[in-house]
């Protein structure tokens, strides 16, 4: 499923020229990583194929232990693949140590050098490359301006706040103008407000410098906010690769549907009602309608529907939409929206998000019997 050859429209802000379409910034070919300790062999990454384009903001998203960090560390050179090939700008870098790879990393713990000033931290990479001292000074100053820390050059890292240290780590990596920047959950240690501000900040910086960003995170909203494309990983494999909208609207697997946002999953045996429509009957005027999937197995269908696509009401909906009856079990008022949990007659909980608009017809209380309805195109049939 996770083929990299699928055509996705170029994301806004990414200039797609002839040359950078031809050579991906990073490519992994059949890359696997297994760890052996005694008799036990653990597979961290299993035969991953991946192409990351020049200048894109690419996220590796998945729960902890899914192999996303190992994948990134193989790109950086801290881990060597057990099998497979890692290429940077088309060149095979398998076996090349991290200090001779043209990528830089931003660590989750920032990993700033505590005994050096901010300016010395940022200059570290340029000094290793024997860049002339005058040029180092101007580039460090420019980079500190970019991350808005121009007045903190003489400070030691521990004199800065978490958010500022984060920006120093970013500057220290970016100043080297790497072909790709690898970010390992860089916002994980920040509080929510700062994290959201830094998400926009990172996106701005990425647009300004035009460098490929590879971003590792377990936070799906973070990945959706910032990425041009996302690879959702689970148990060492890529479950789905696509734009945030593709992943959210058309999850490839049950795992992706559950991991990205909230999904309601409904199963049942479907009947064909027309060339384009199938129906699962639940009895008592209740049914789910969906567009006919390309492949239909006899054993049944797994359908996901997003909470915000569902309408909640007291009246019986039309027969040309999906309609399910249930009892309101939980009402959570969140200001702009209200989240309902509705239990159906066969004891399935369905989560529904309703806008709190001036139209008060979609209000319900705990214990009310309500009808849920949604259009057939919002019933997304999971493949396989």
């Amino acid at each position: 499923m996770a083929t990299t050859t699928e055509k996705t429209p170029a994301a806004p802000g990414v200039v797609a020229t002839e040359s950078n379409q031809a050579v991906p910034a990073i490519s992994l070919e059949k890359v696997s990583k297994t760890y052996r300790s005694g008799q036990v062999t653990t597979t961290a990454v299993e035969s991953i194929d991946l192409e990351i384009r020049q200048g894109e903001f690419f996220s590796l998203l998945g729960p902890s232990g899914c192999g996303k960090t190992t994948t990134m560390r193989m790109i950086a050179g801290f881990e060597e693949p057990t099998s497979g090939v890692v290429r940077l700008s088309g060149k095979d870098v398998t076996g090349v140590p991290p200090n001779r790879r043209d990528v830089n990393m931003v660590f989750q713990s920032y990993a700033l050098f505590p005994h050096m000033t901010v300016a010395e931290n940022v200059a570290f990479g340029l000094k290793r490359k024997k860049v002339p001292a005058a040029e180092i000074r101007t580039r460090v100053a420019e980079m500190l301006e970019l991350v808005e820390l121009g007045d903190r050059a003489k400070y030691k890292p521990r004199q800065l706040s978490g958010g500022q240290q984060q920006r120093v780590a970013l500057a220290r990596a970016l100043v080297n103008r790497p072909s790709a920047l690898l970010l390992d959950e860089p916002l994980g240690a920040l509080d929510l407000k700062l994290r959201q501000a830094m998400q926009l900040e990172l996106k701005r910086i990425q647009r300004e410098v035009g460098i490929t960003f590879v971003y590792v995170t377990h936070d799906q909203s973070e990945a959706l906010t910032m990425s041009d494309r996302i690879a959702v990983m689970n148990k060492g494999r890529i479950e789905q690769l696509g734009t945030p909208a593709q992943i959210y609207e058309t999850p490839a697997t049950r795992f992706v549907a559950g991991f990205i946002g909230t999904s309601n999953i409904l199963t049942g045996t479907a009947q064909r009602v027309s060339d384009t429509l199938v129906r699962i009957d639940y009895g008592g005027d209740q049914h789910v309608l969906a567009n006919t999937p390309q492949q239909m197995s006899d054993s049944g269908l797994v359908i996901t529907v997003r909470p915000e696509k569902i309408r909640l009401g007291k009246d019986v909906p039309d027969a040309n939409v999906s309609r399910i009856r249930g009892t309101v079990r939980e009402v959570v008022y969140l200001g702009a929206t209200t989240h309902y949990t509705v239990r159906t007659v066969d004891d399935t909980d369905i989560v529904v998000f309703q806008q709190n608009s001036s139209d008060a017809s979609n209000l319900a209380d705990h214990g009310d019997t309500v009808w849920l309805s949604w259009r057939p195109e919002h019933s997304y049939v999971l493949p396989g």
Partner: protein
């Protein structure tokens, strides 16, 4: 109502102002006196204006022993030997102990448990046992007893202290800091030189000073393996039978002052680094 409150507050603040004698304070002072009284005695008796051989009763204040500090050539030689052995021990145990501490803190390797055990054995084994077994080892190896064997013995028992100090620092160090250096283009030697070593330096310094102090005042092991060589502690021990001259107190005071100055410098440097 408000008047009562003010009065109550005044009583409370008066009570807080009066220093209260607590068990904690008494205990703290008792420990401090316990620790420093012998040192104070040594320093005081370096200023004792005695005429005979016995420097045990207070006769009056004088600075003359500081002027005649180095009148005994064999005592000078003993002090010189001790300082030389101390610096050699600090250097050798400092380097090997640092490498040992790095390896033990950073890596998992075959024989790690055994190394750990040996390290703690070297600390906890009775000095008499170590001294005796080292003596038989040196004789078996046909080594001439002297400066070399003393240094070997001192390095042997101080490595563990350096290694443990350095290991503690290594284990609290974020390994991604060194990875960051590698990532930014530093090879492994440059990473050690510019990142690992400066970060370990306070621990190495502390371990090295500990090794120096242990070496300077070691008596038991040294007496087994020194042969004809005399060190400062051995000379003092030898002179107890005929009376310890005040020069010993003078040298002891000088060593103490230098040690305190070194410790203060280390603290100031550590503070400036952070």
């Amino acid at each position: 109502m408000s008047a009562t409150a003010t009065k109550a507050e005044a009583t409370v603040s008066r009570r807080q102002r009066r220093p209260r004698i607590t068990l904690g304070k008494v205990f703290t002072w008792a420990v401090l006196v316990w620790l420093f009284l012998p040192i104070a005695g040594m320093i005081a008796f370096s200023f004792n204006d005695i005429s005979g051989r016995h420097n045990v009763t207070w006769q009056g204040f004088t600075l003359k022993w500081y002027g005649k500090a180095f009148v005994y050539p064999d005592l000078n030689q003993a002090l010189f030997n001790t300082l030389l052995i101390g610096f050699a021990t600090m250097l050798i145990a400092g380097i090997t102990g640092t490498l040992l501490g790095l390896a033990m803190g950073r890596y998992r390797f075959r024989g790690q448990q055994a190394s750990n055990l040996v390290m703690f054995a070297a600390i906890s084994a009775p000095e008499v046992v170590i001294g005796a077994s080292l003596l038989s080892l040196f004789i078996a190896l046909n080594l001439t007893l002297g400066m070399t064997t003393v240094i070997i013995a001192h390095v042997m028992f101080s490595i563990s202290f350096v290694a443990i100090t350095v290991r503690a620092r290594v284990m609290t160090m974020d390994p991604s800091i060194e990875e960051a250096a590698r990532d930014l283009g530093a090879d492994s030697w440059t990473t050690f030189r510019l990142v690992t070593f400066p970060m370990l330096f306070p621990a190495i310094m502390a371990g090295g000073l500990l090794a120096f102090a242990l070496s300077v005042d070691d008596f038991i092991i040294t007496s087994f393996v020194s042969g004809d060589l005399t060190t400062f502690p051995l000379w003092i021990w030898g002179s107890t039978r005929v009376g310890i001259p005040p020069q010993v107190n003078v040298m002891g005071t000088l060593i103490f002052v230098v040690g305190v100055l070194l410790a203060i410098t280390n603290i100031i440097l550590a503070r400036r680094r952070s």
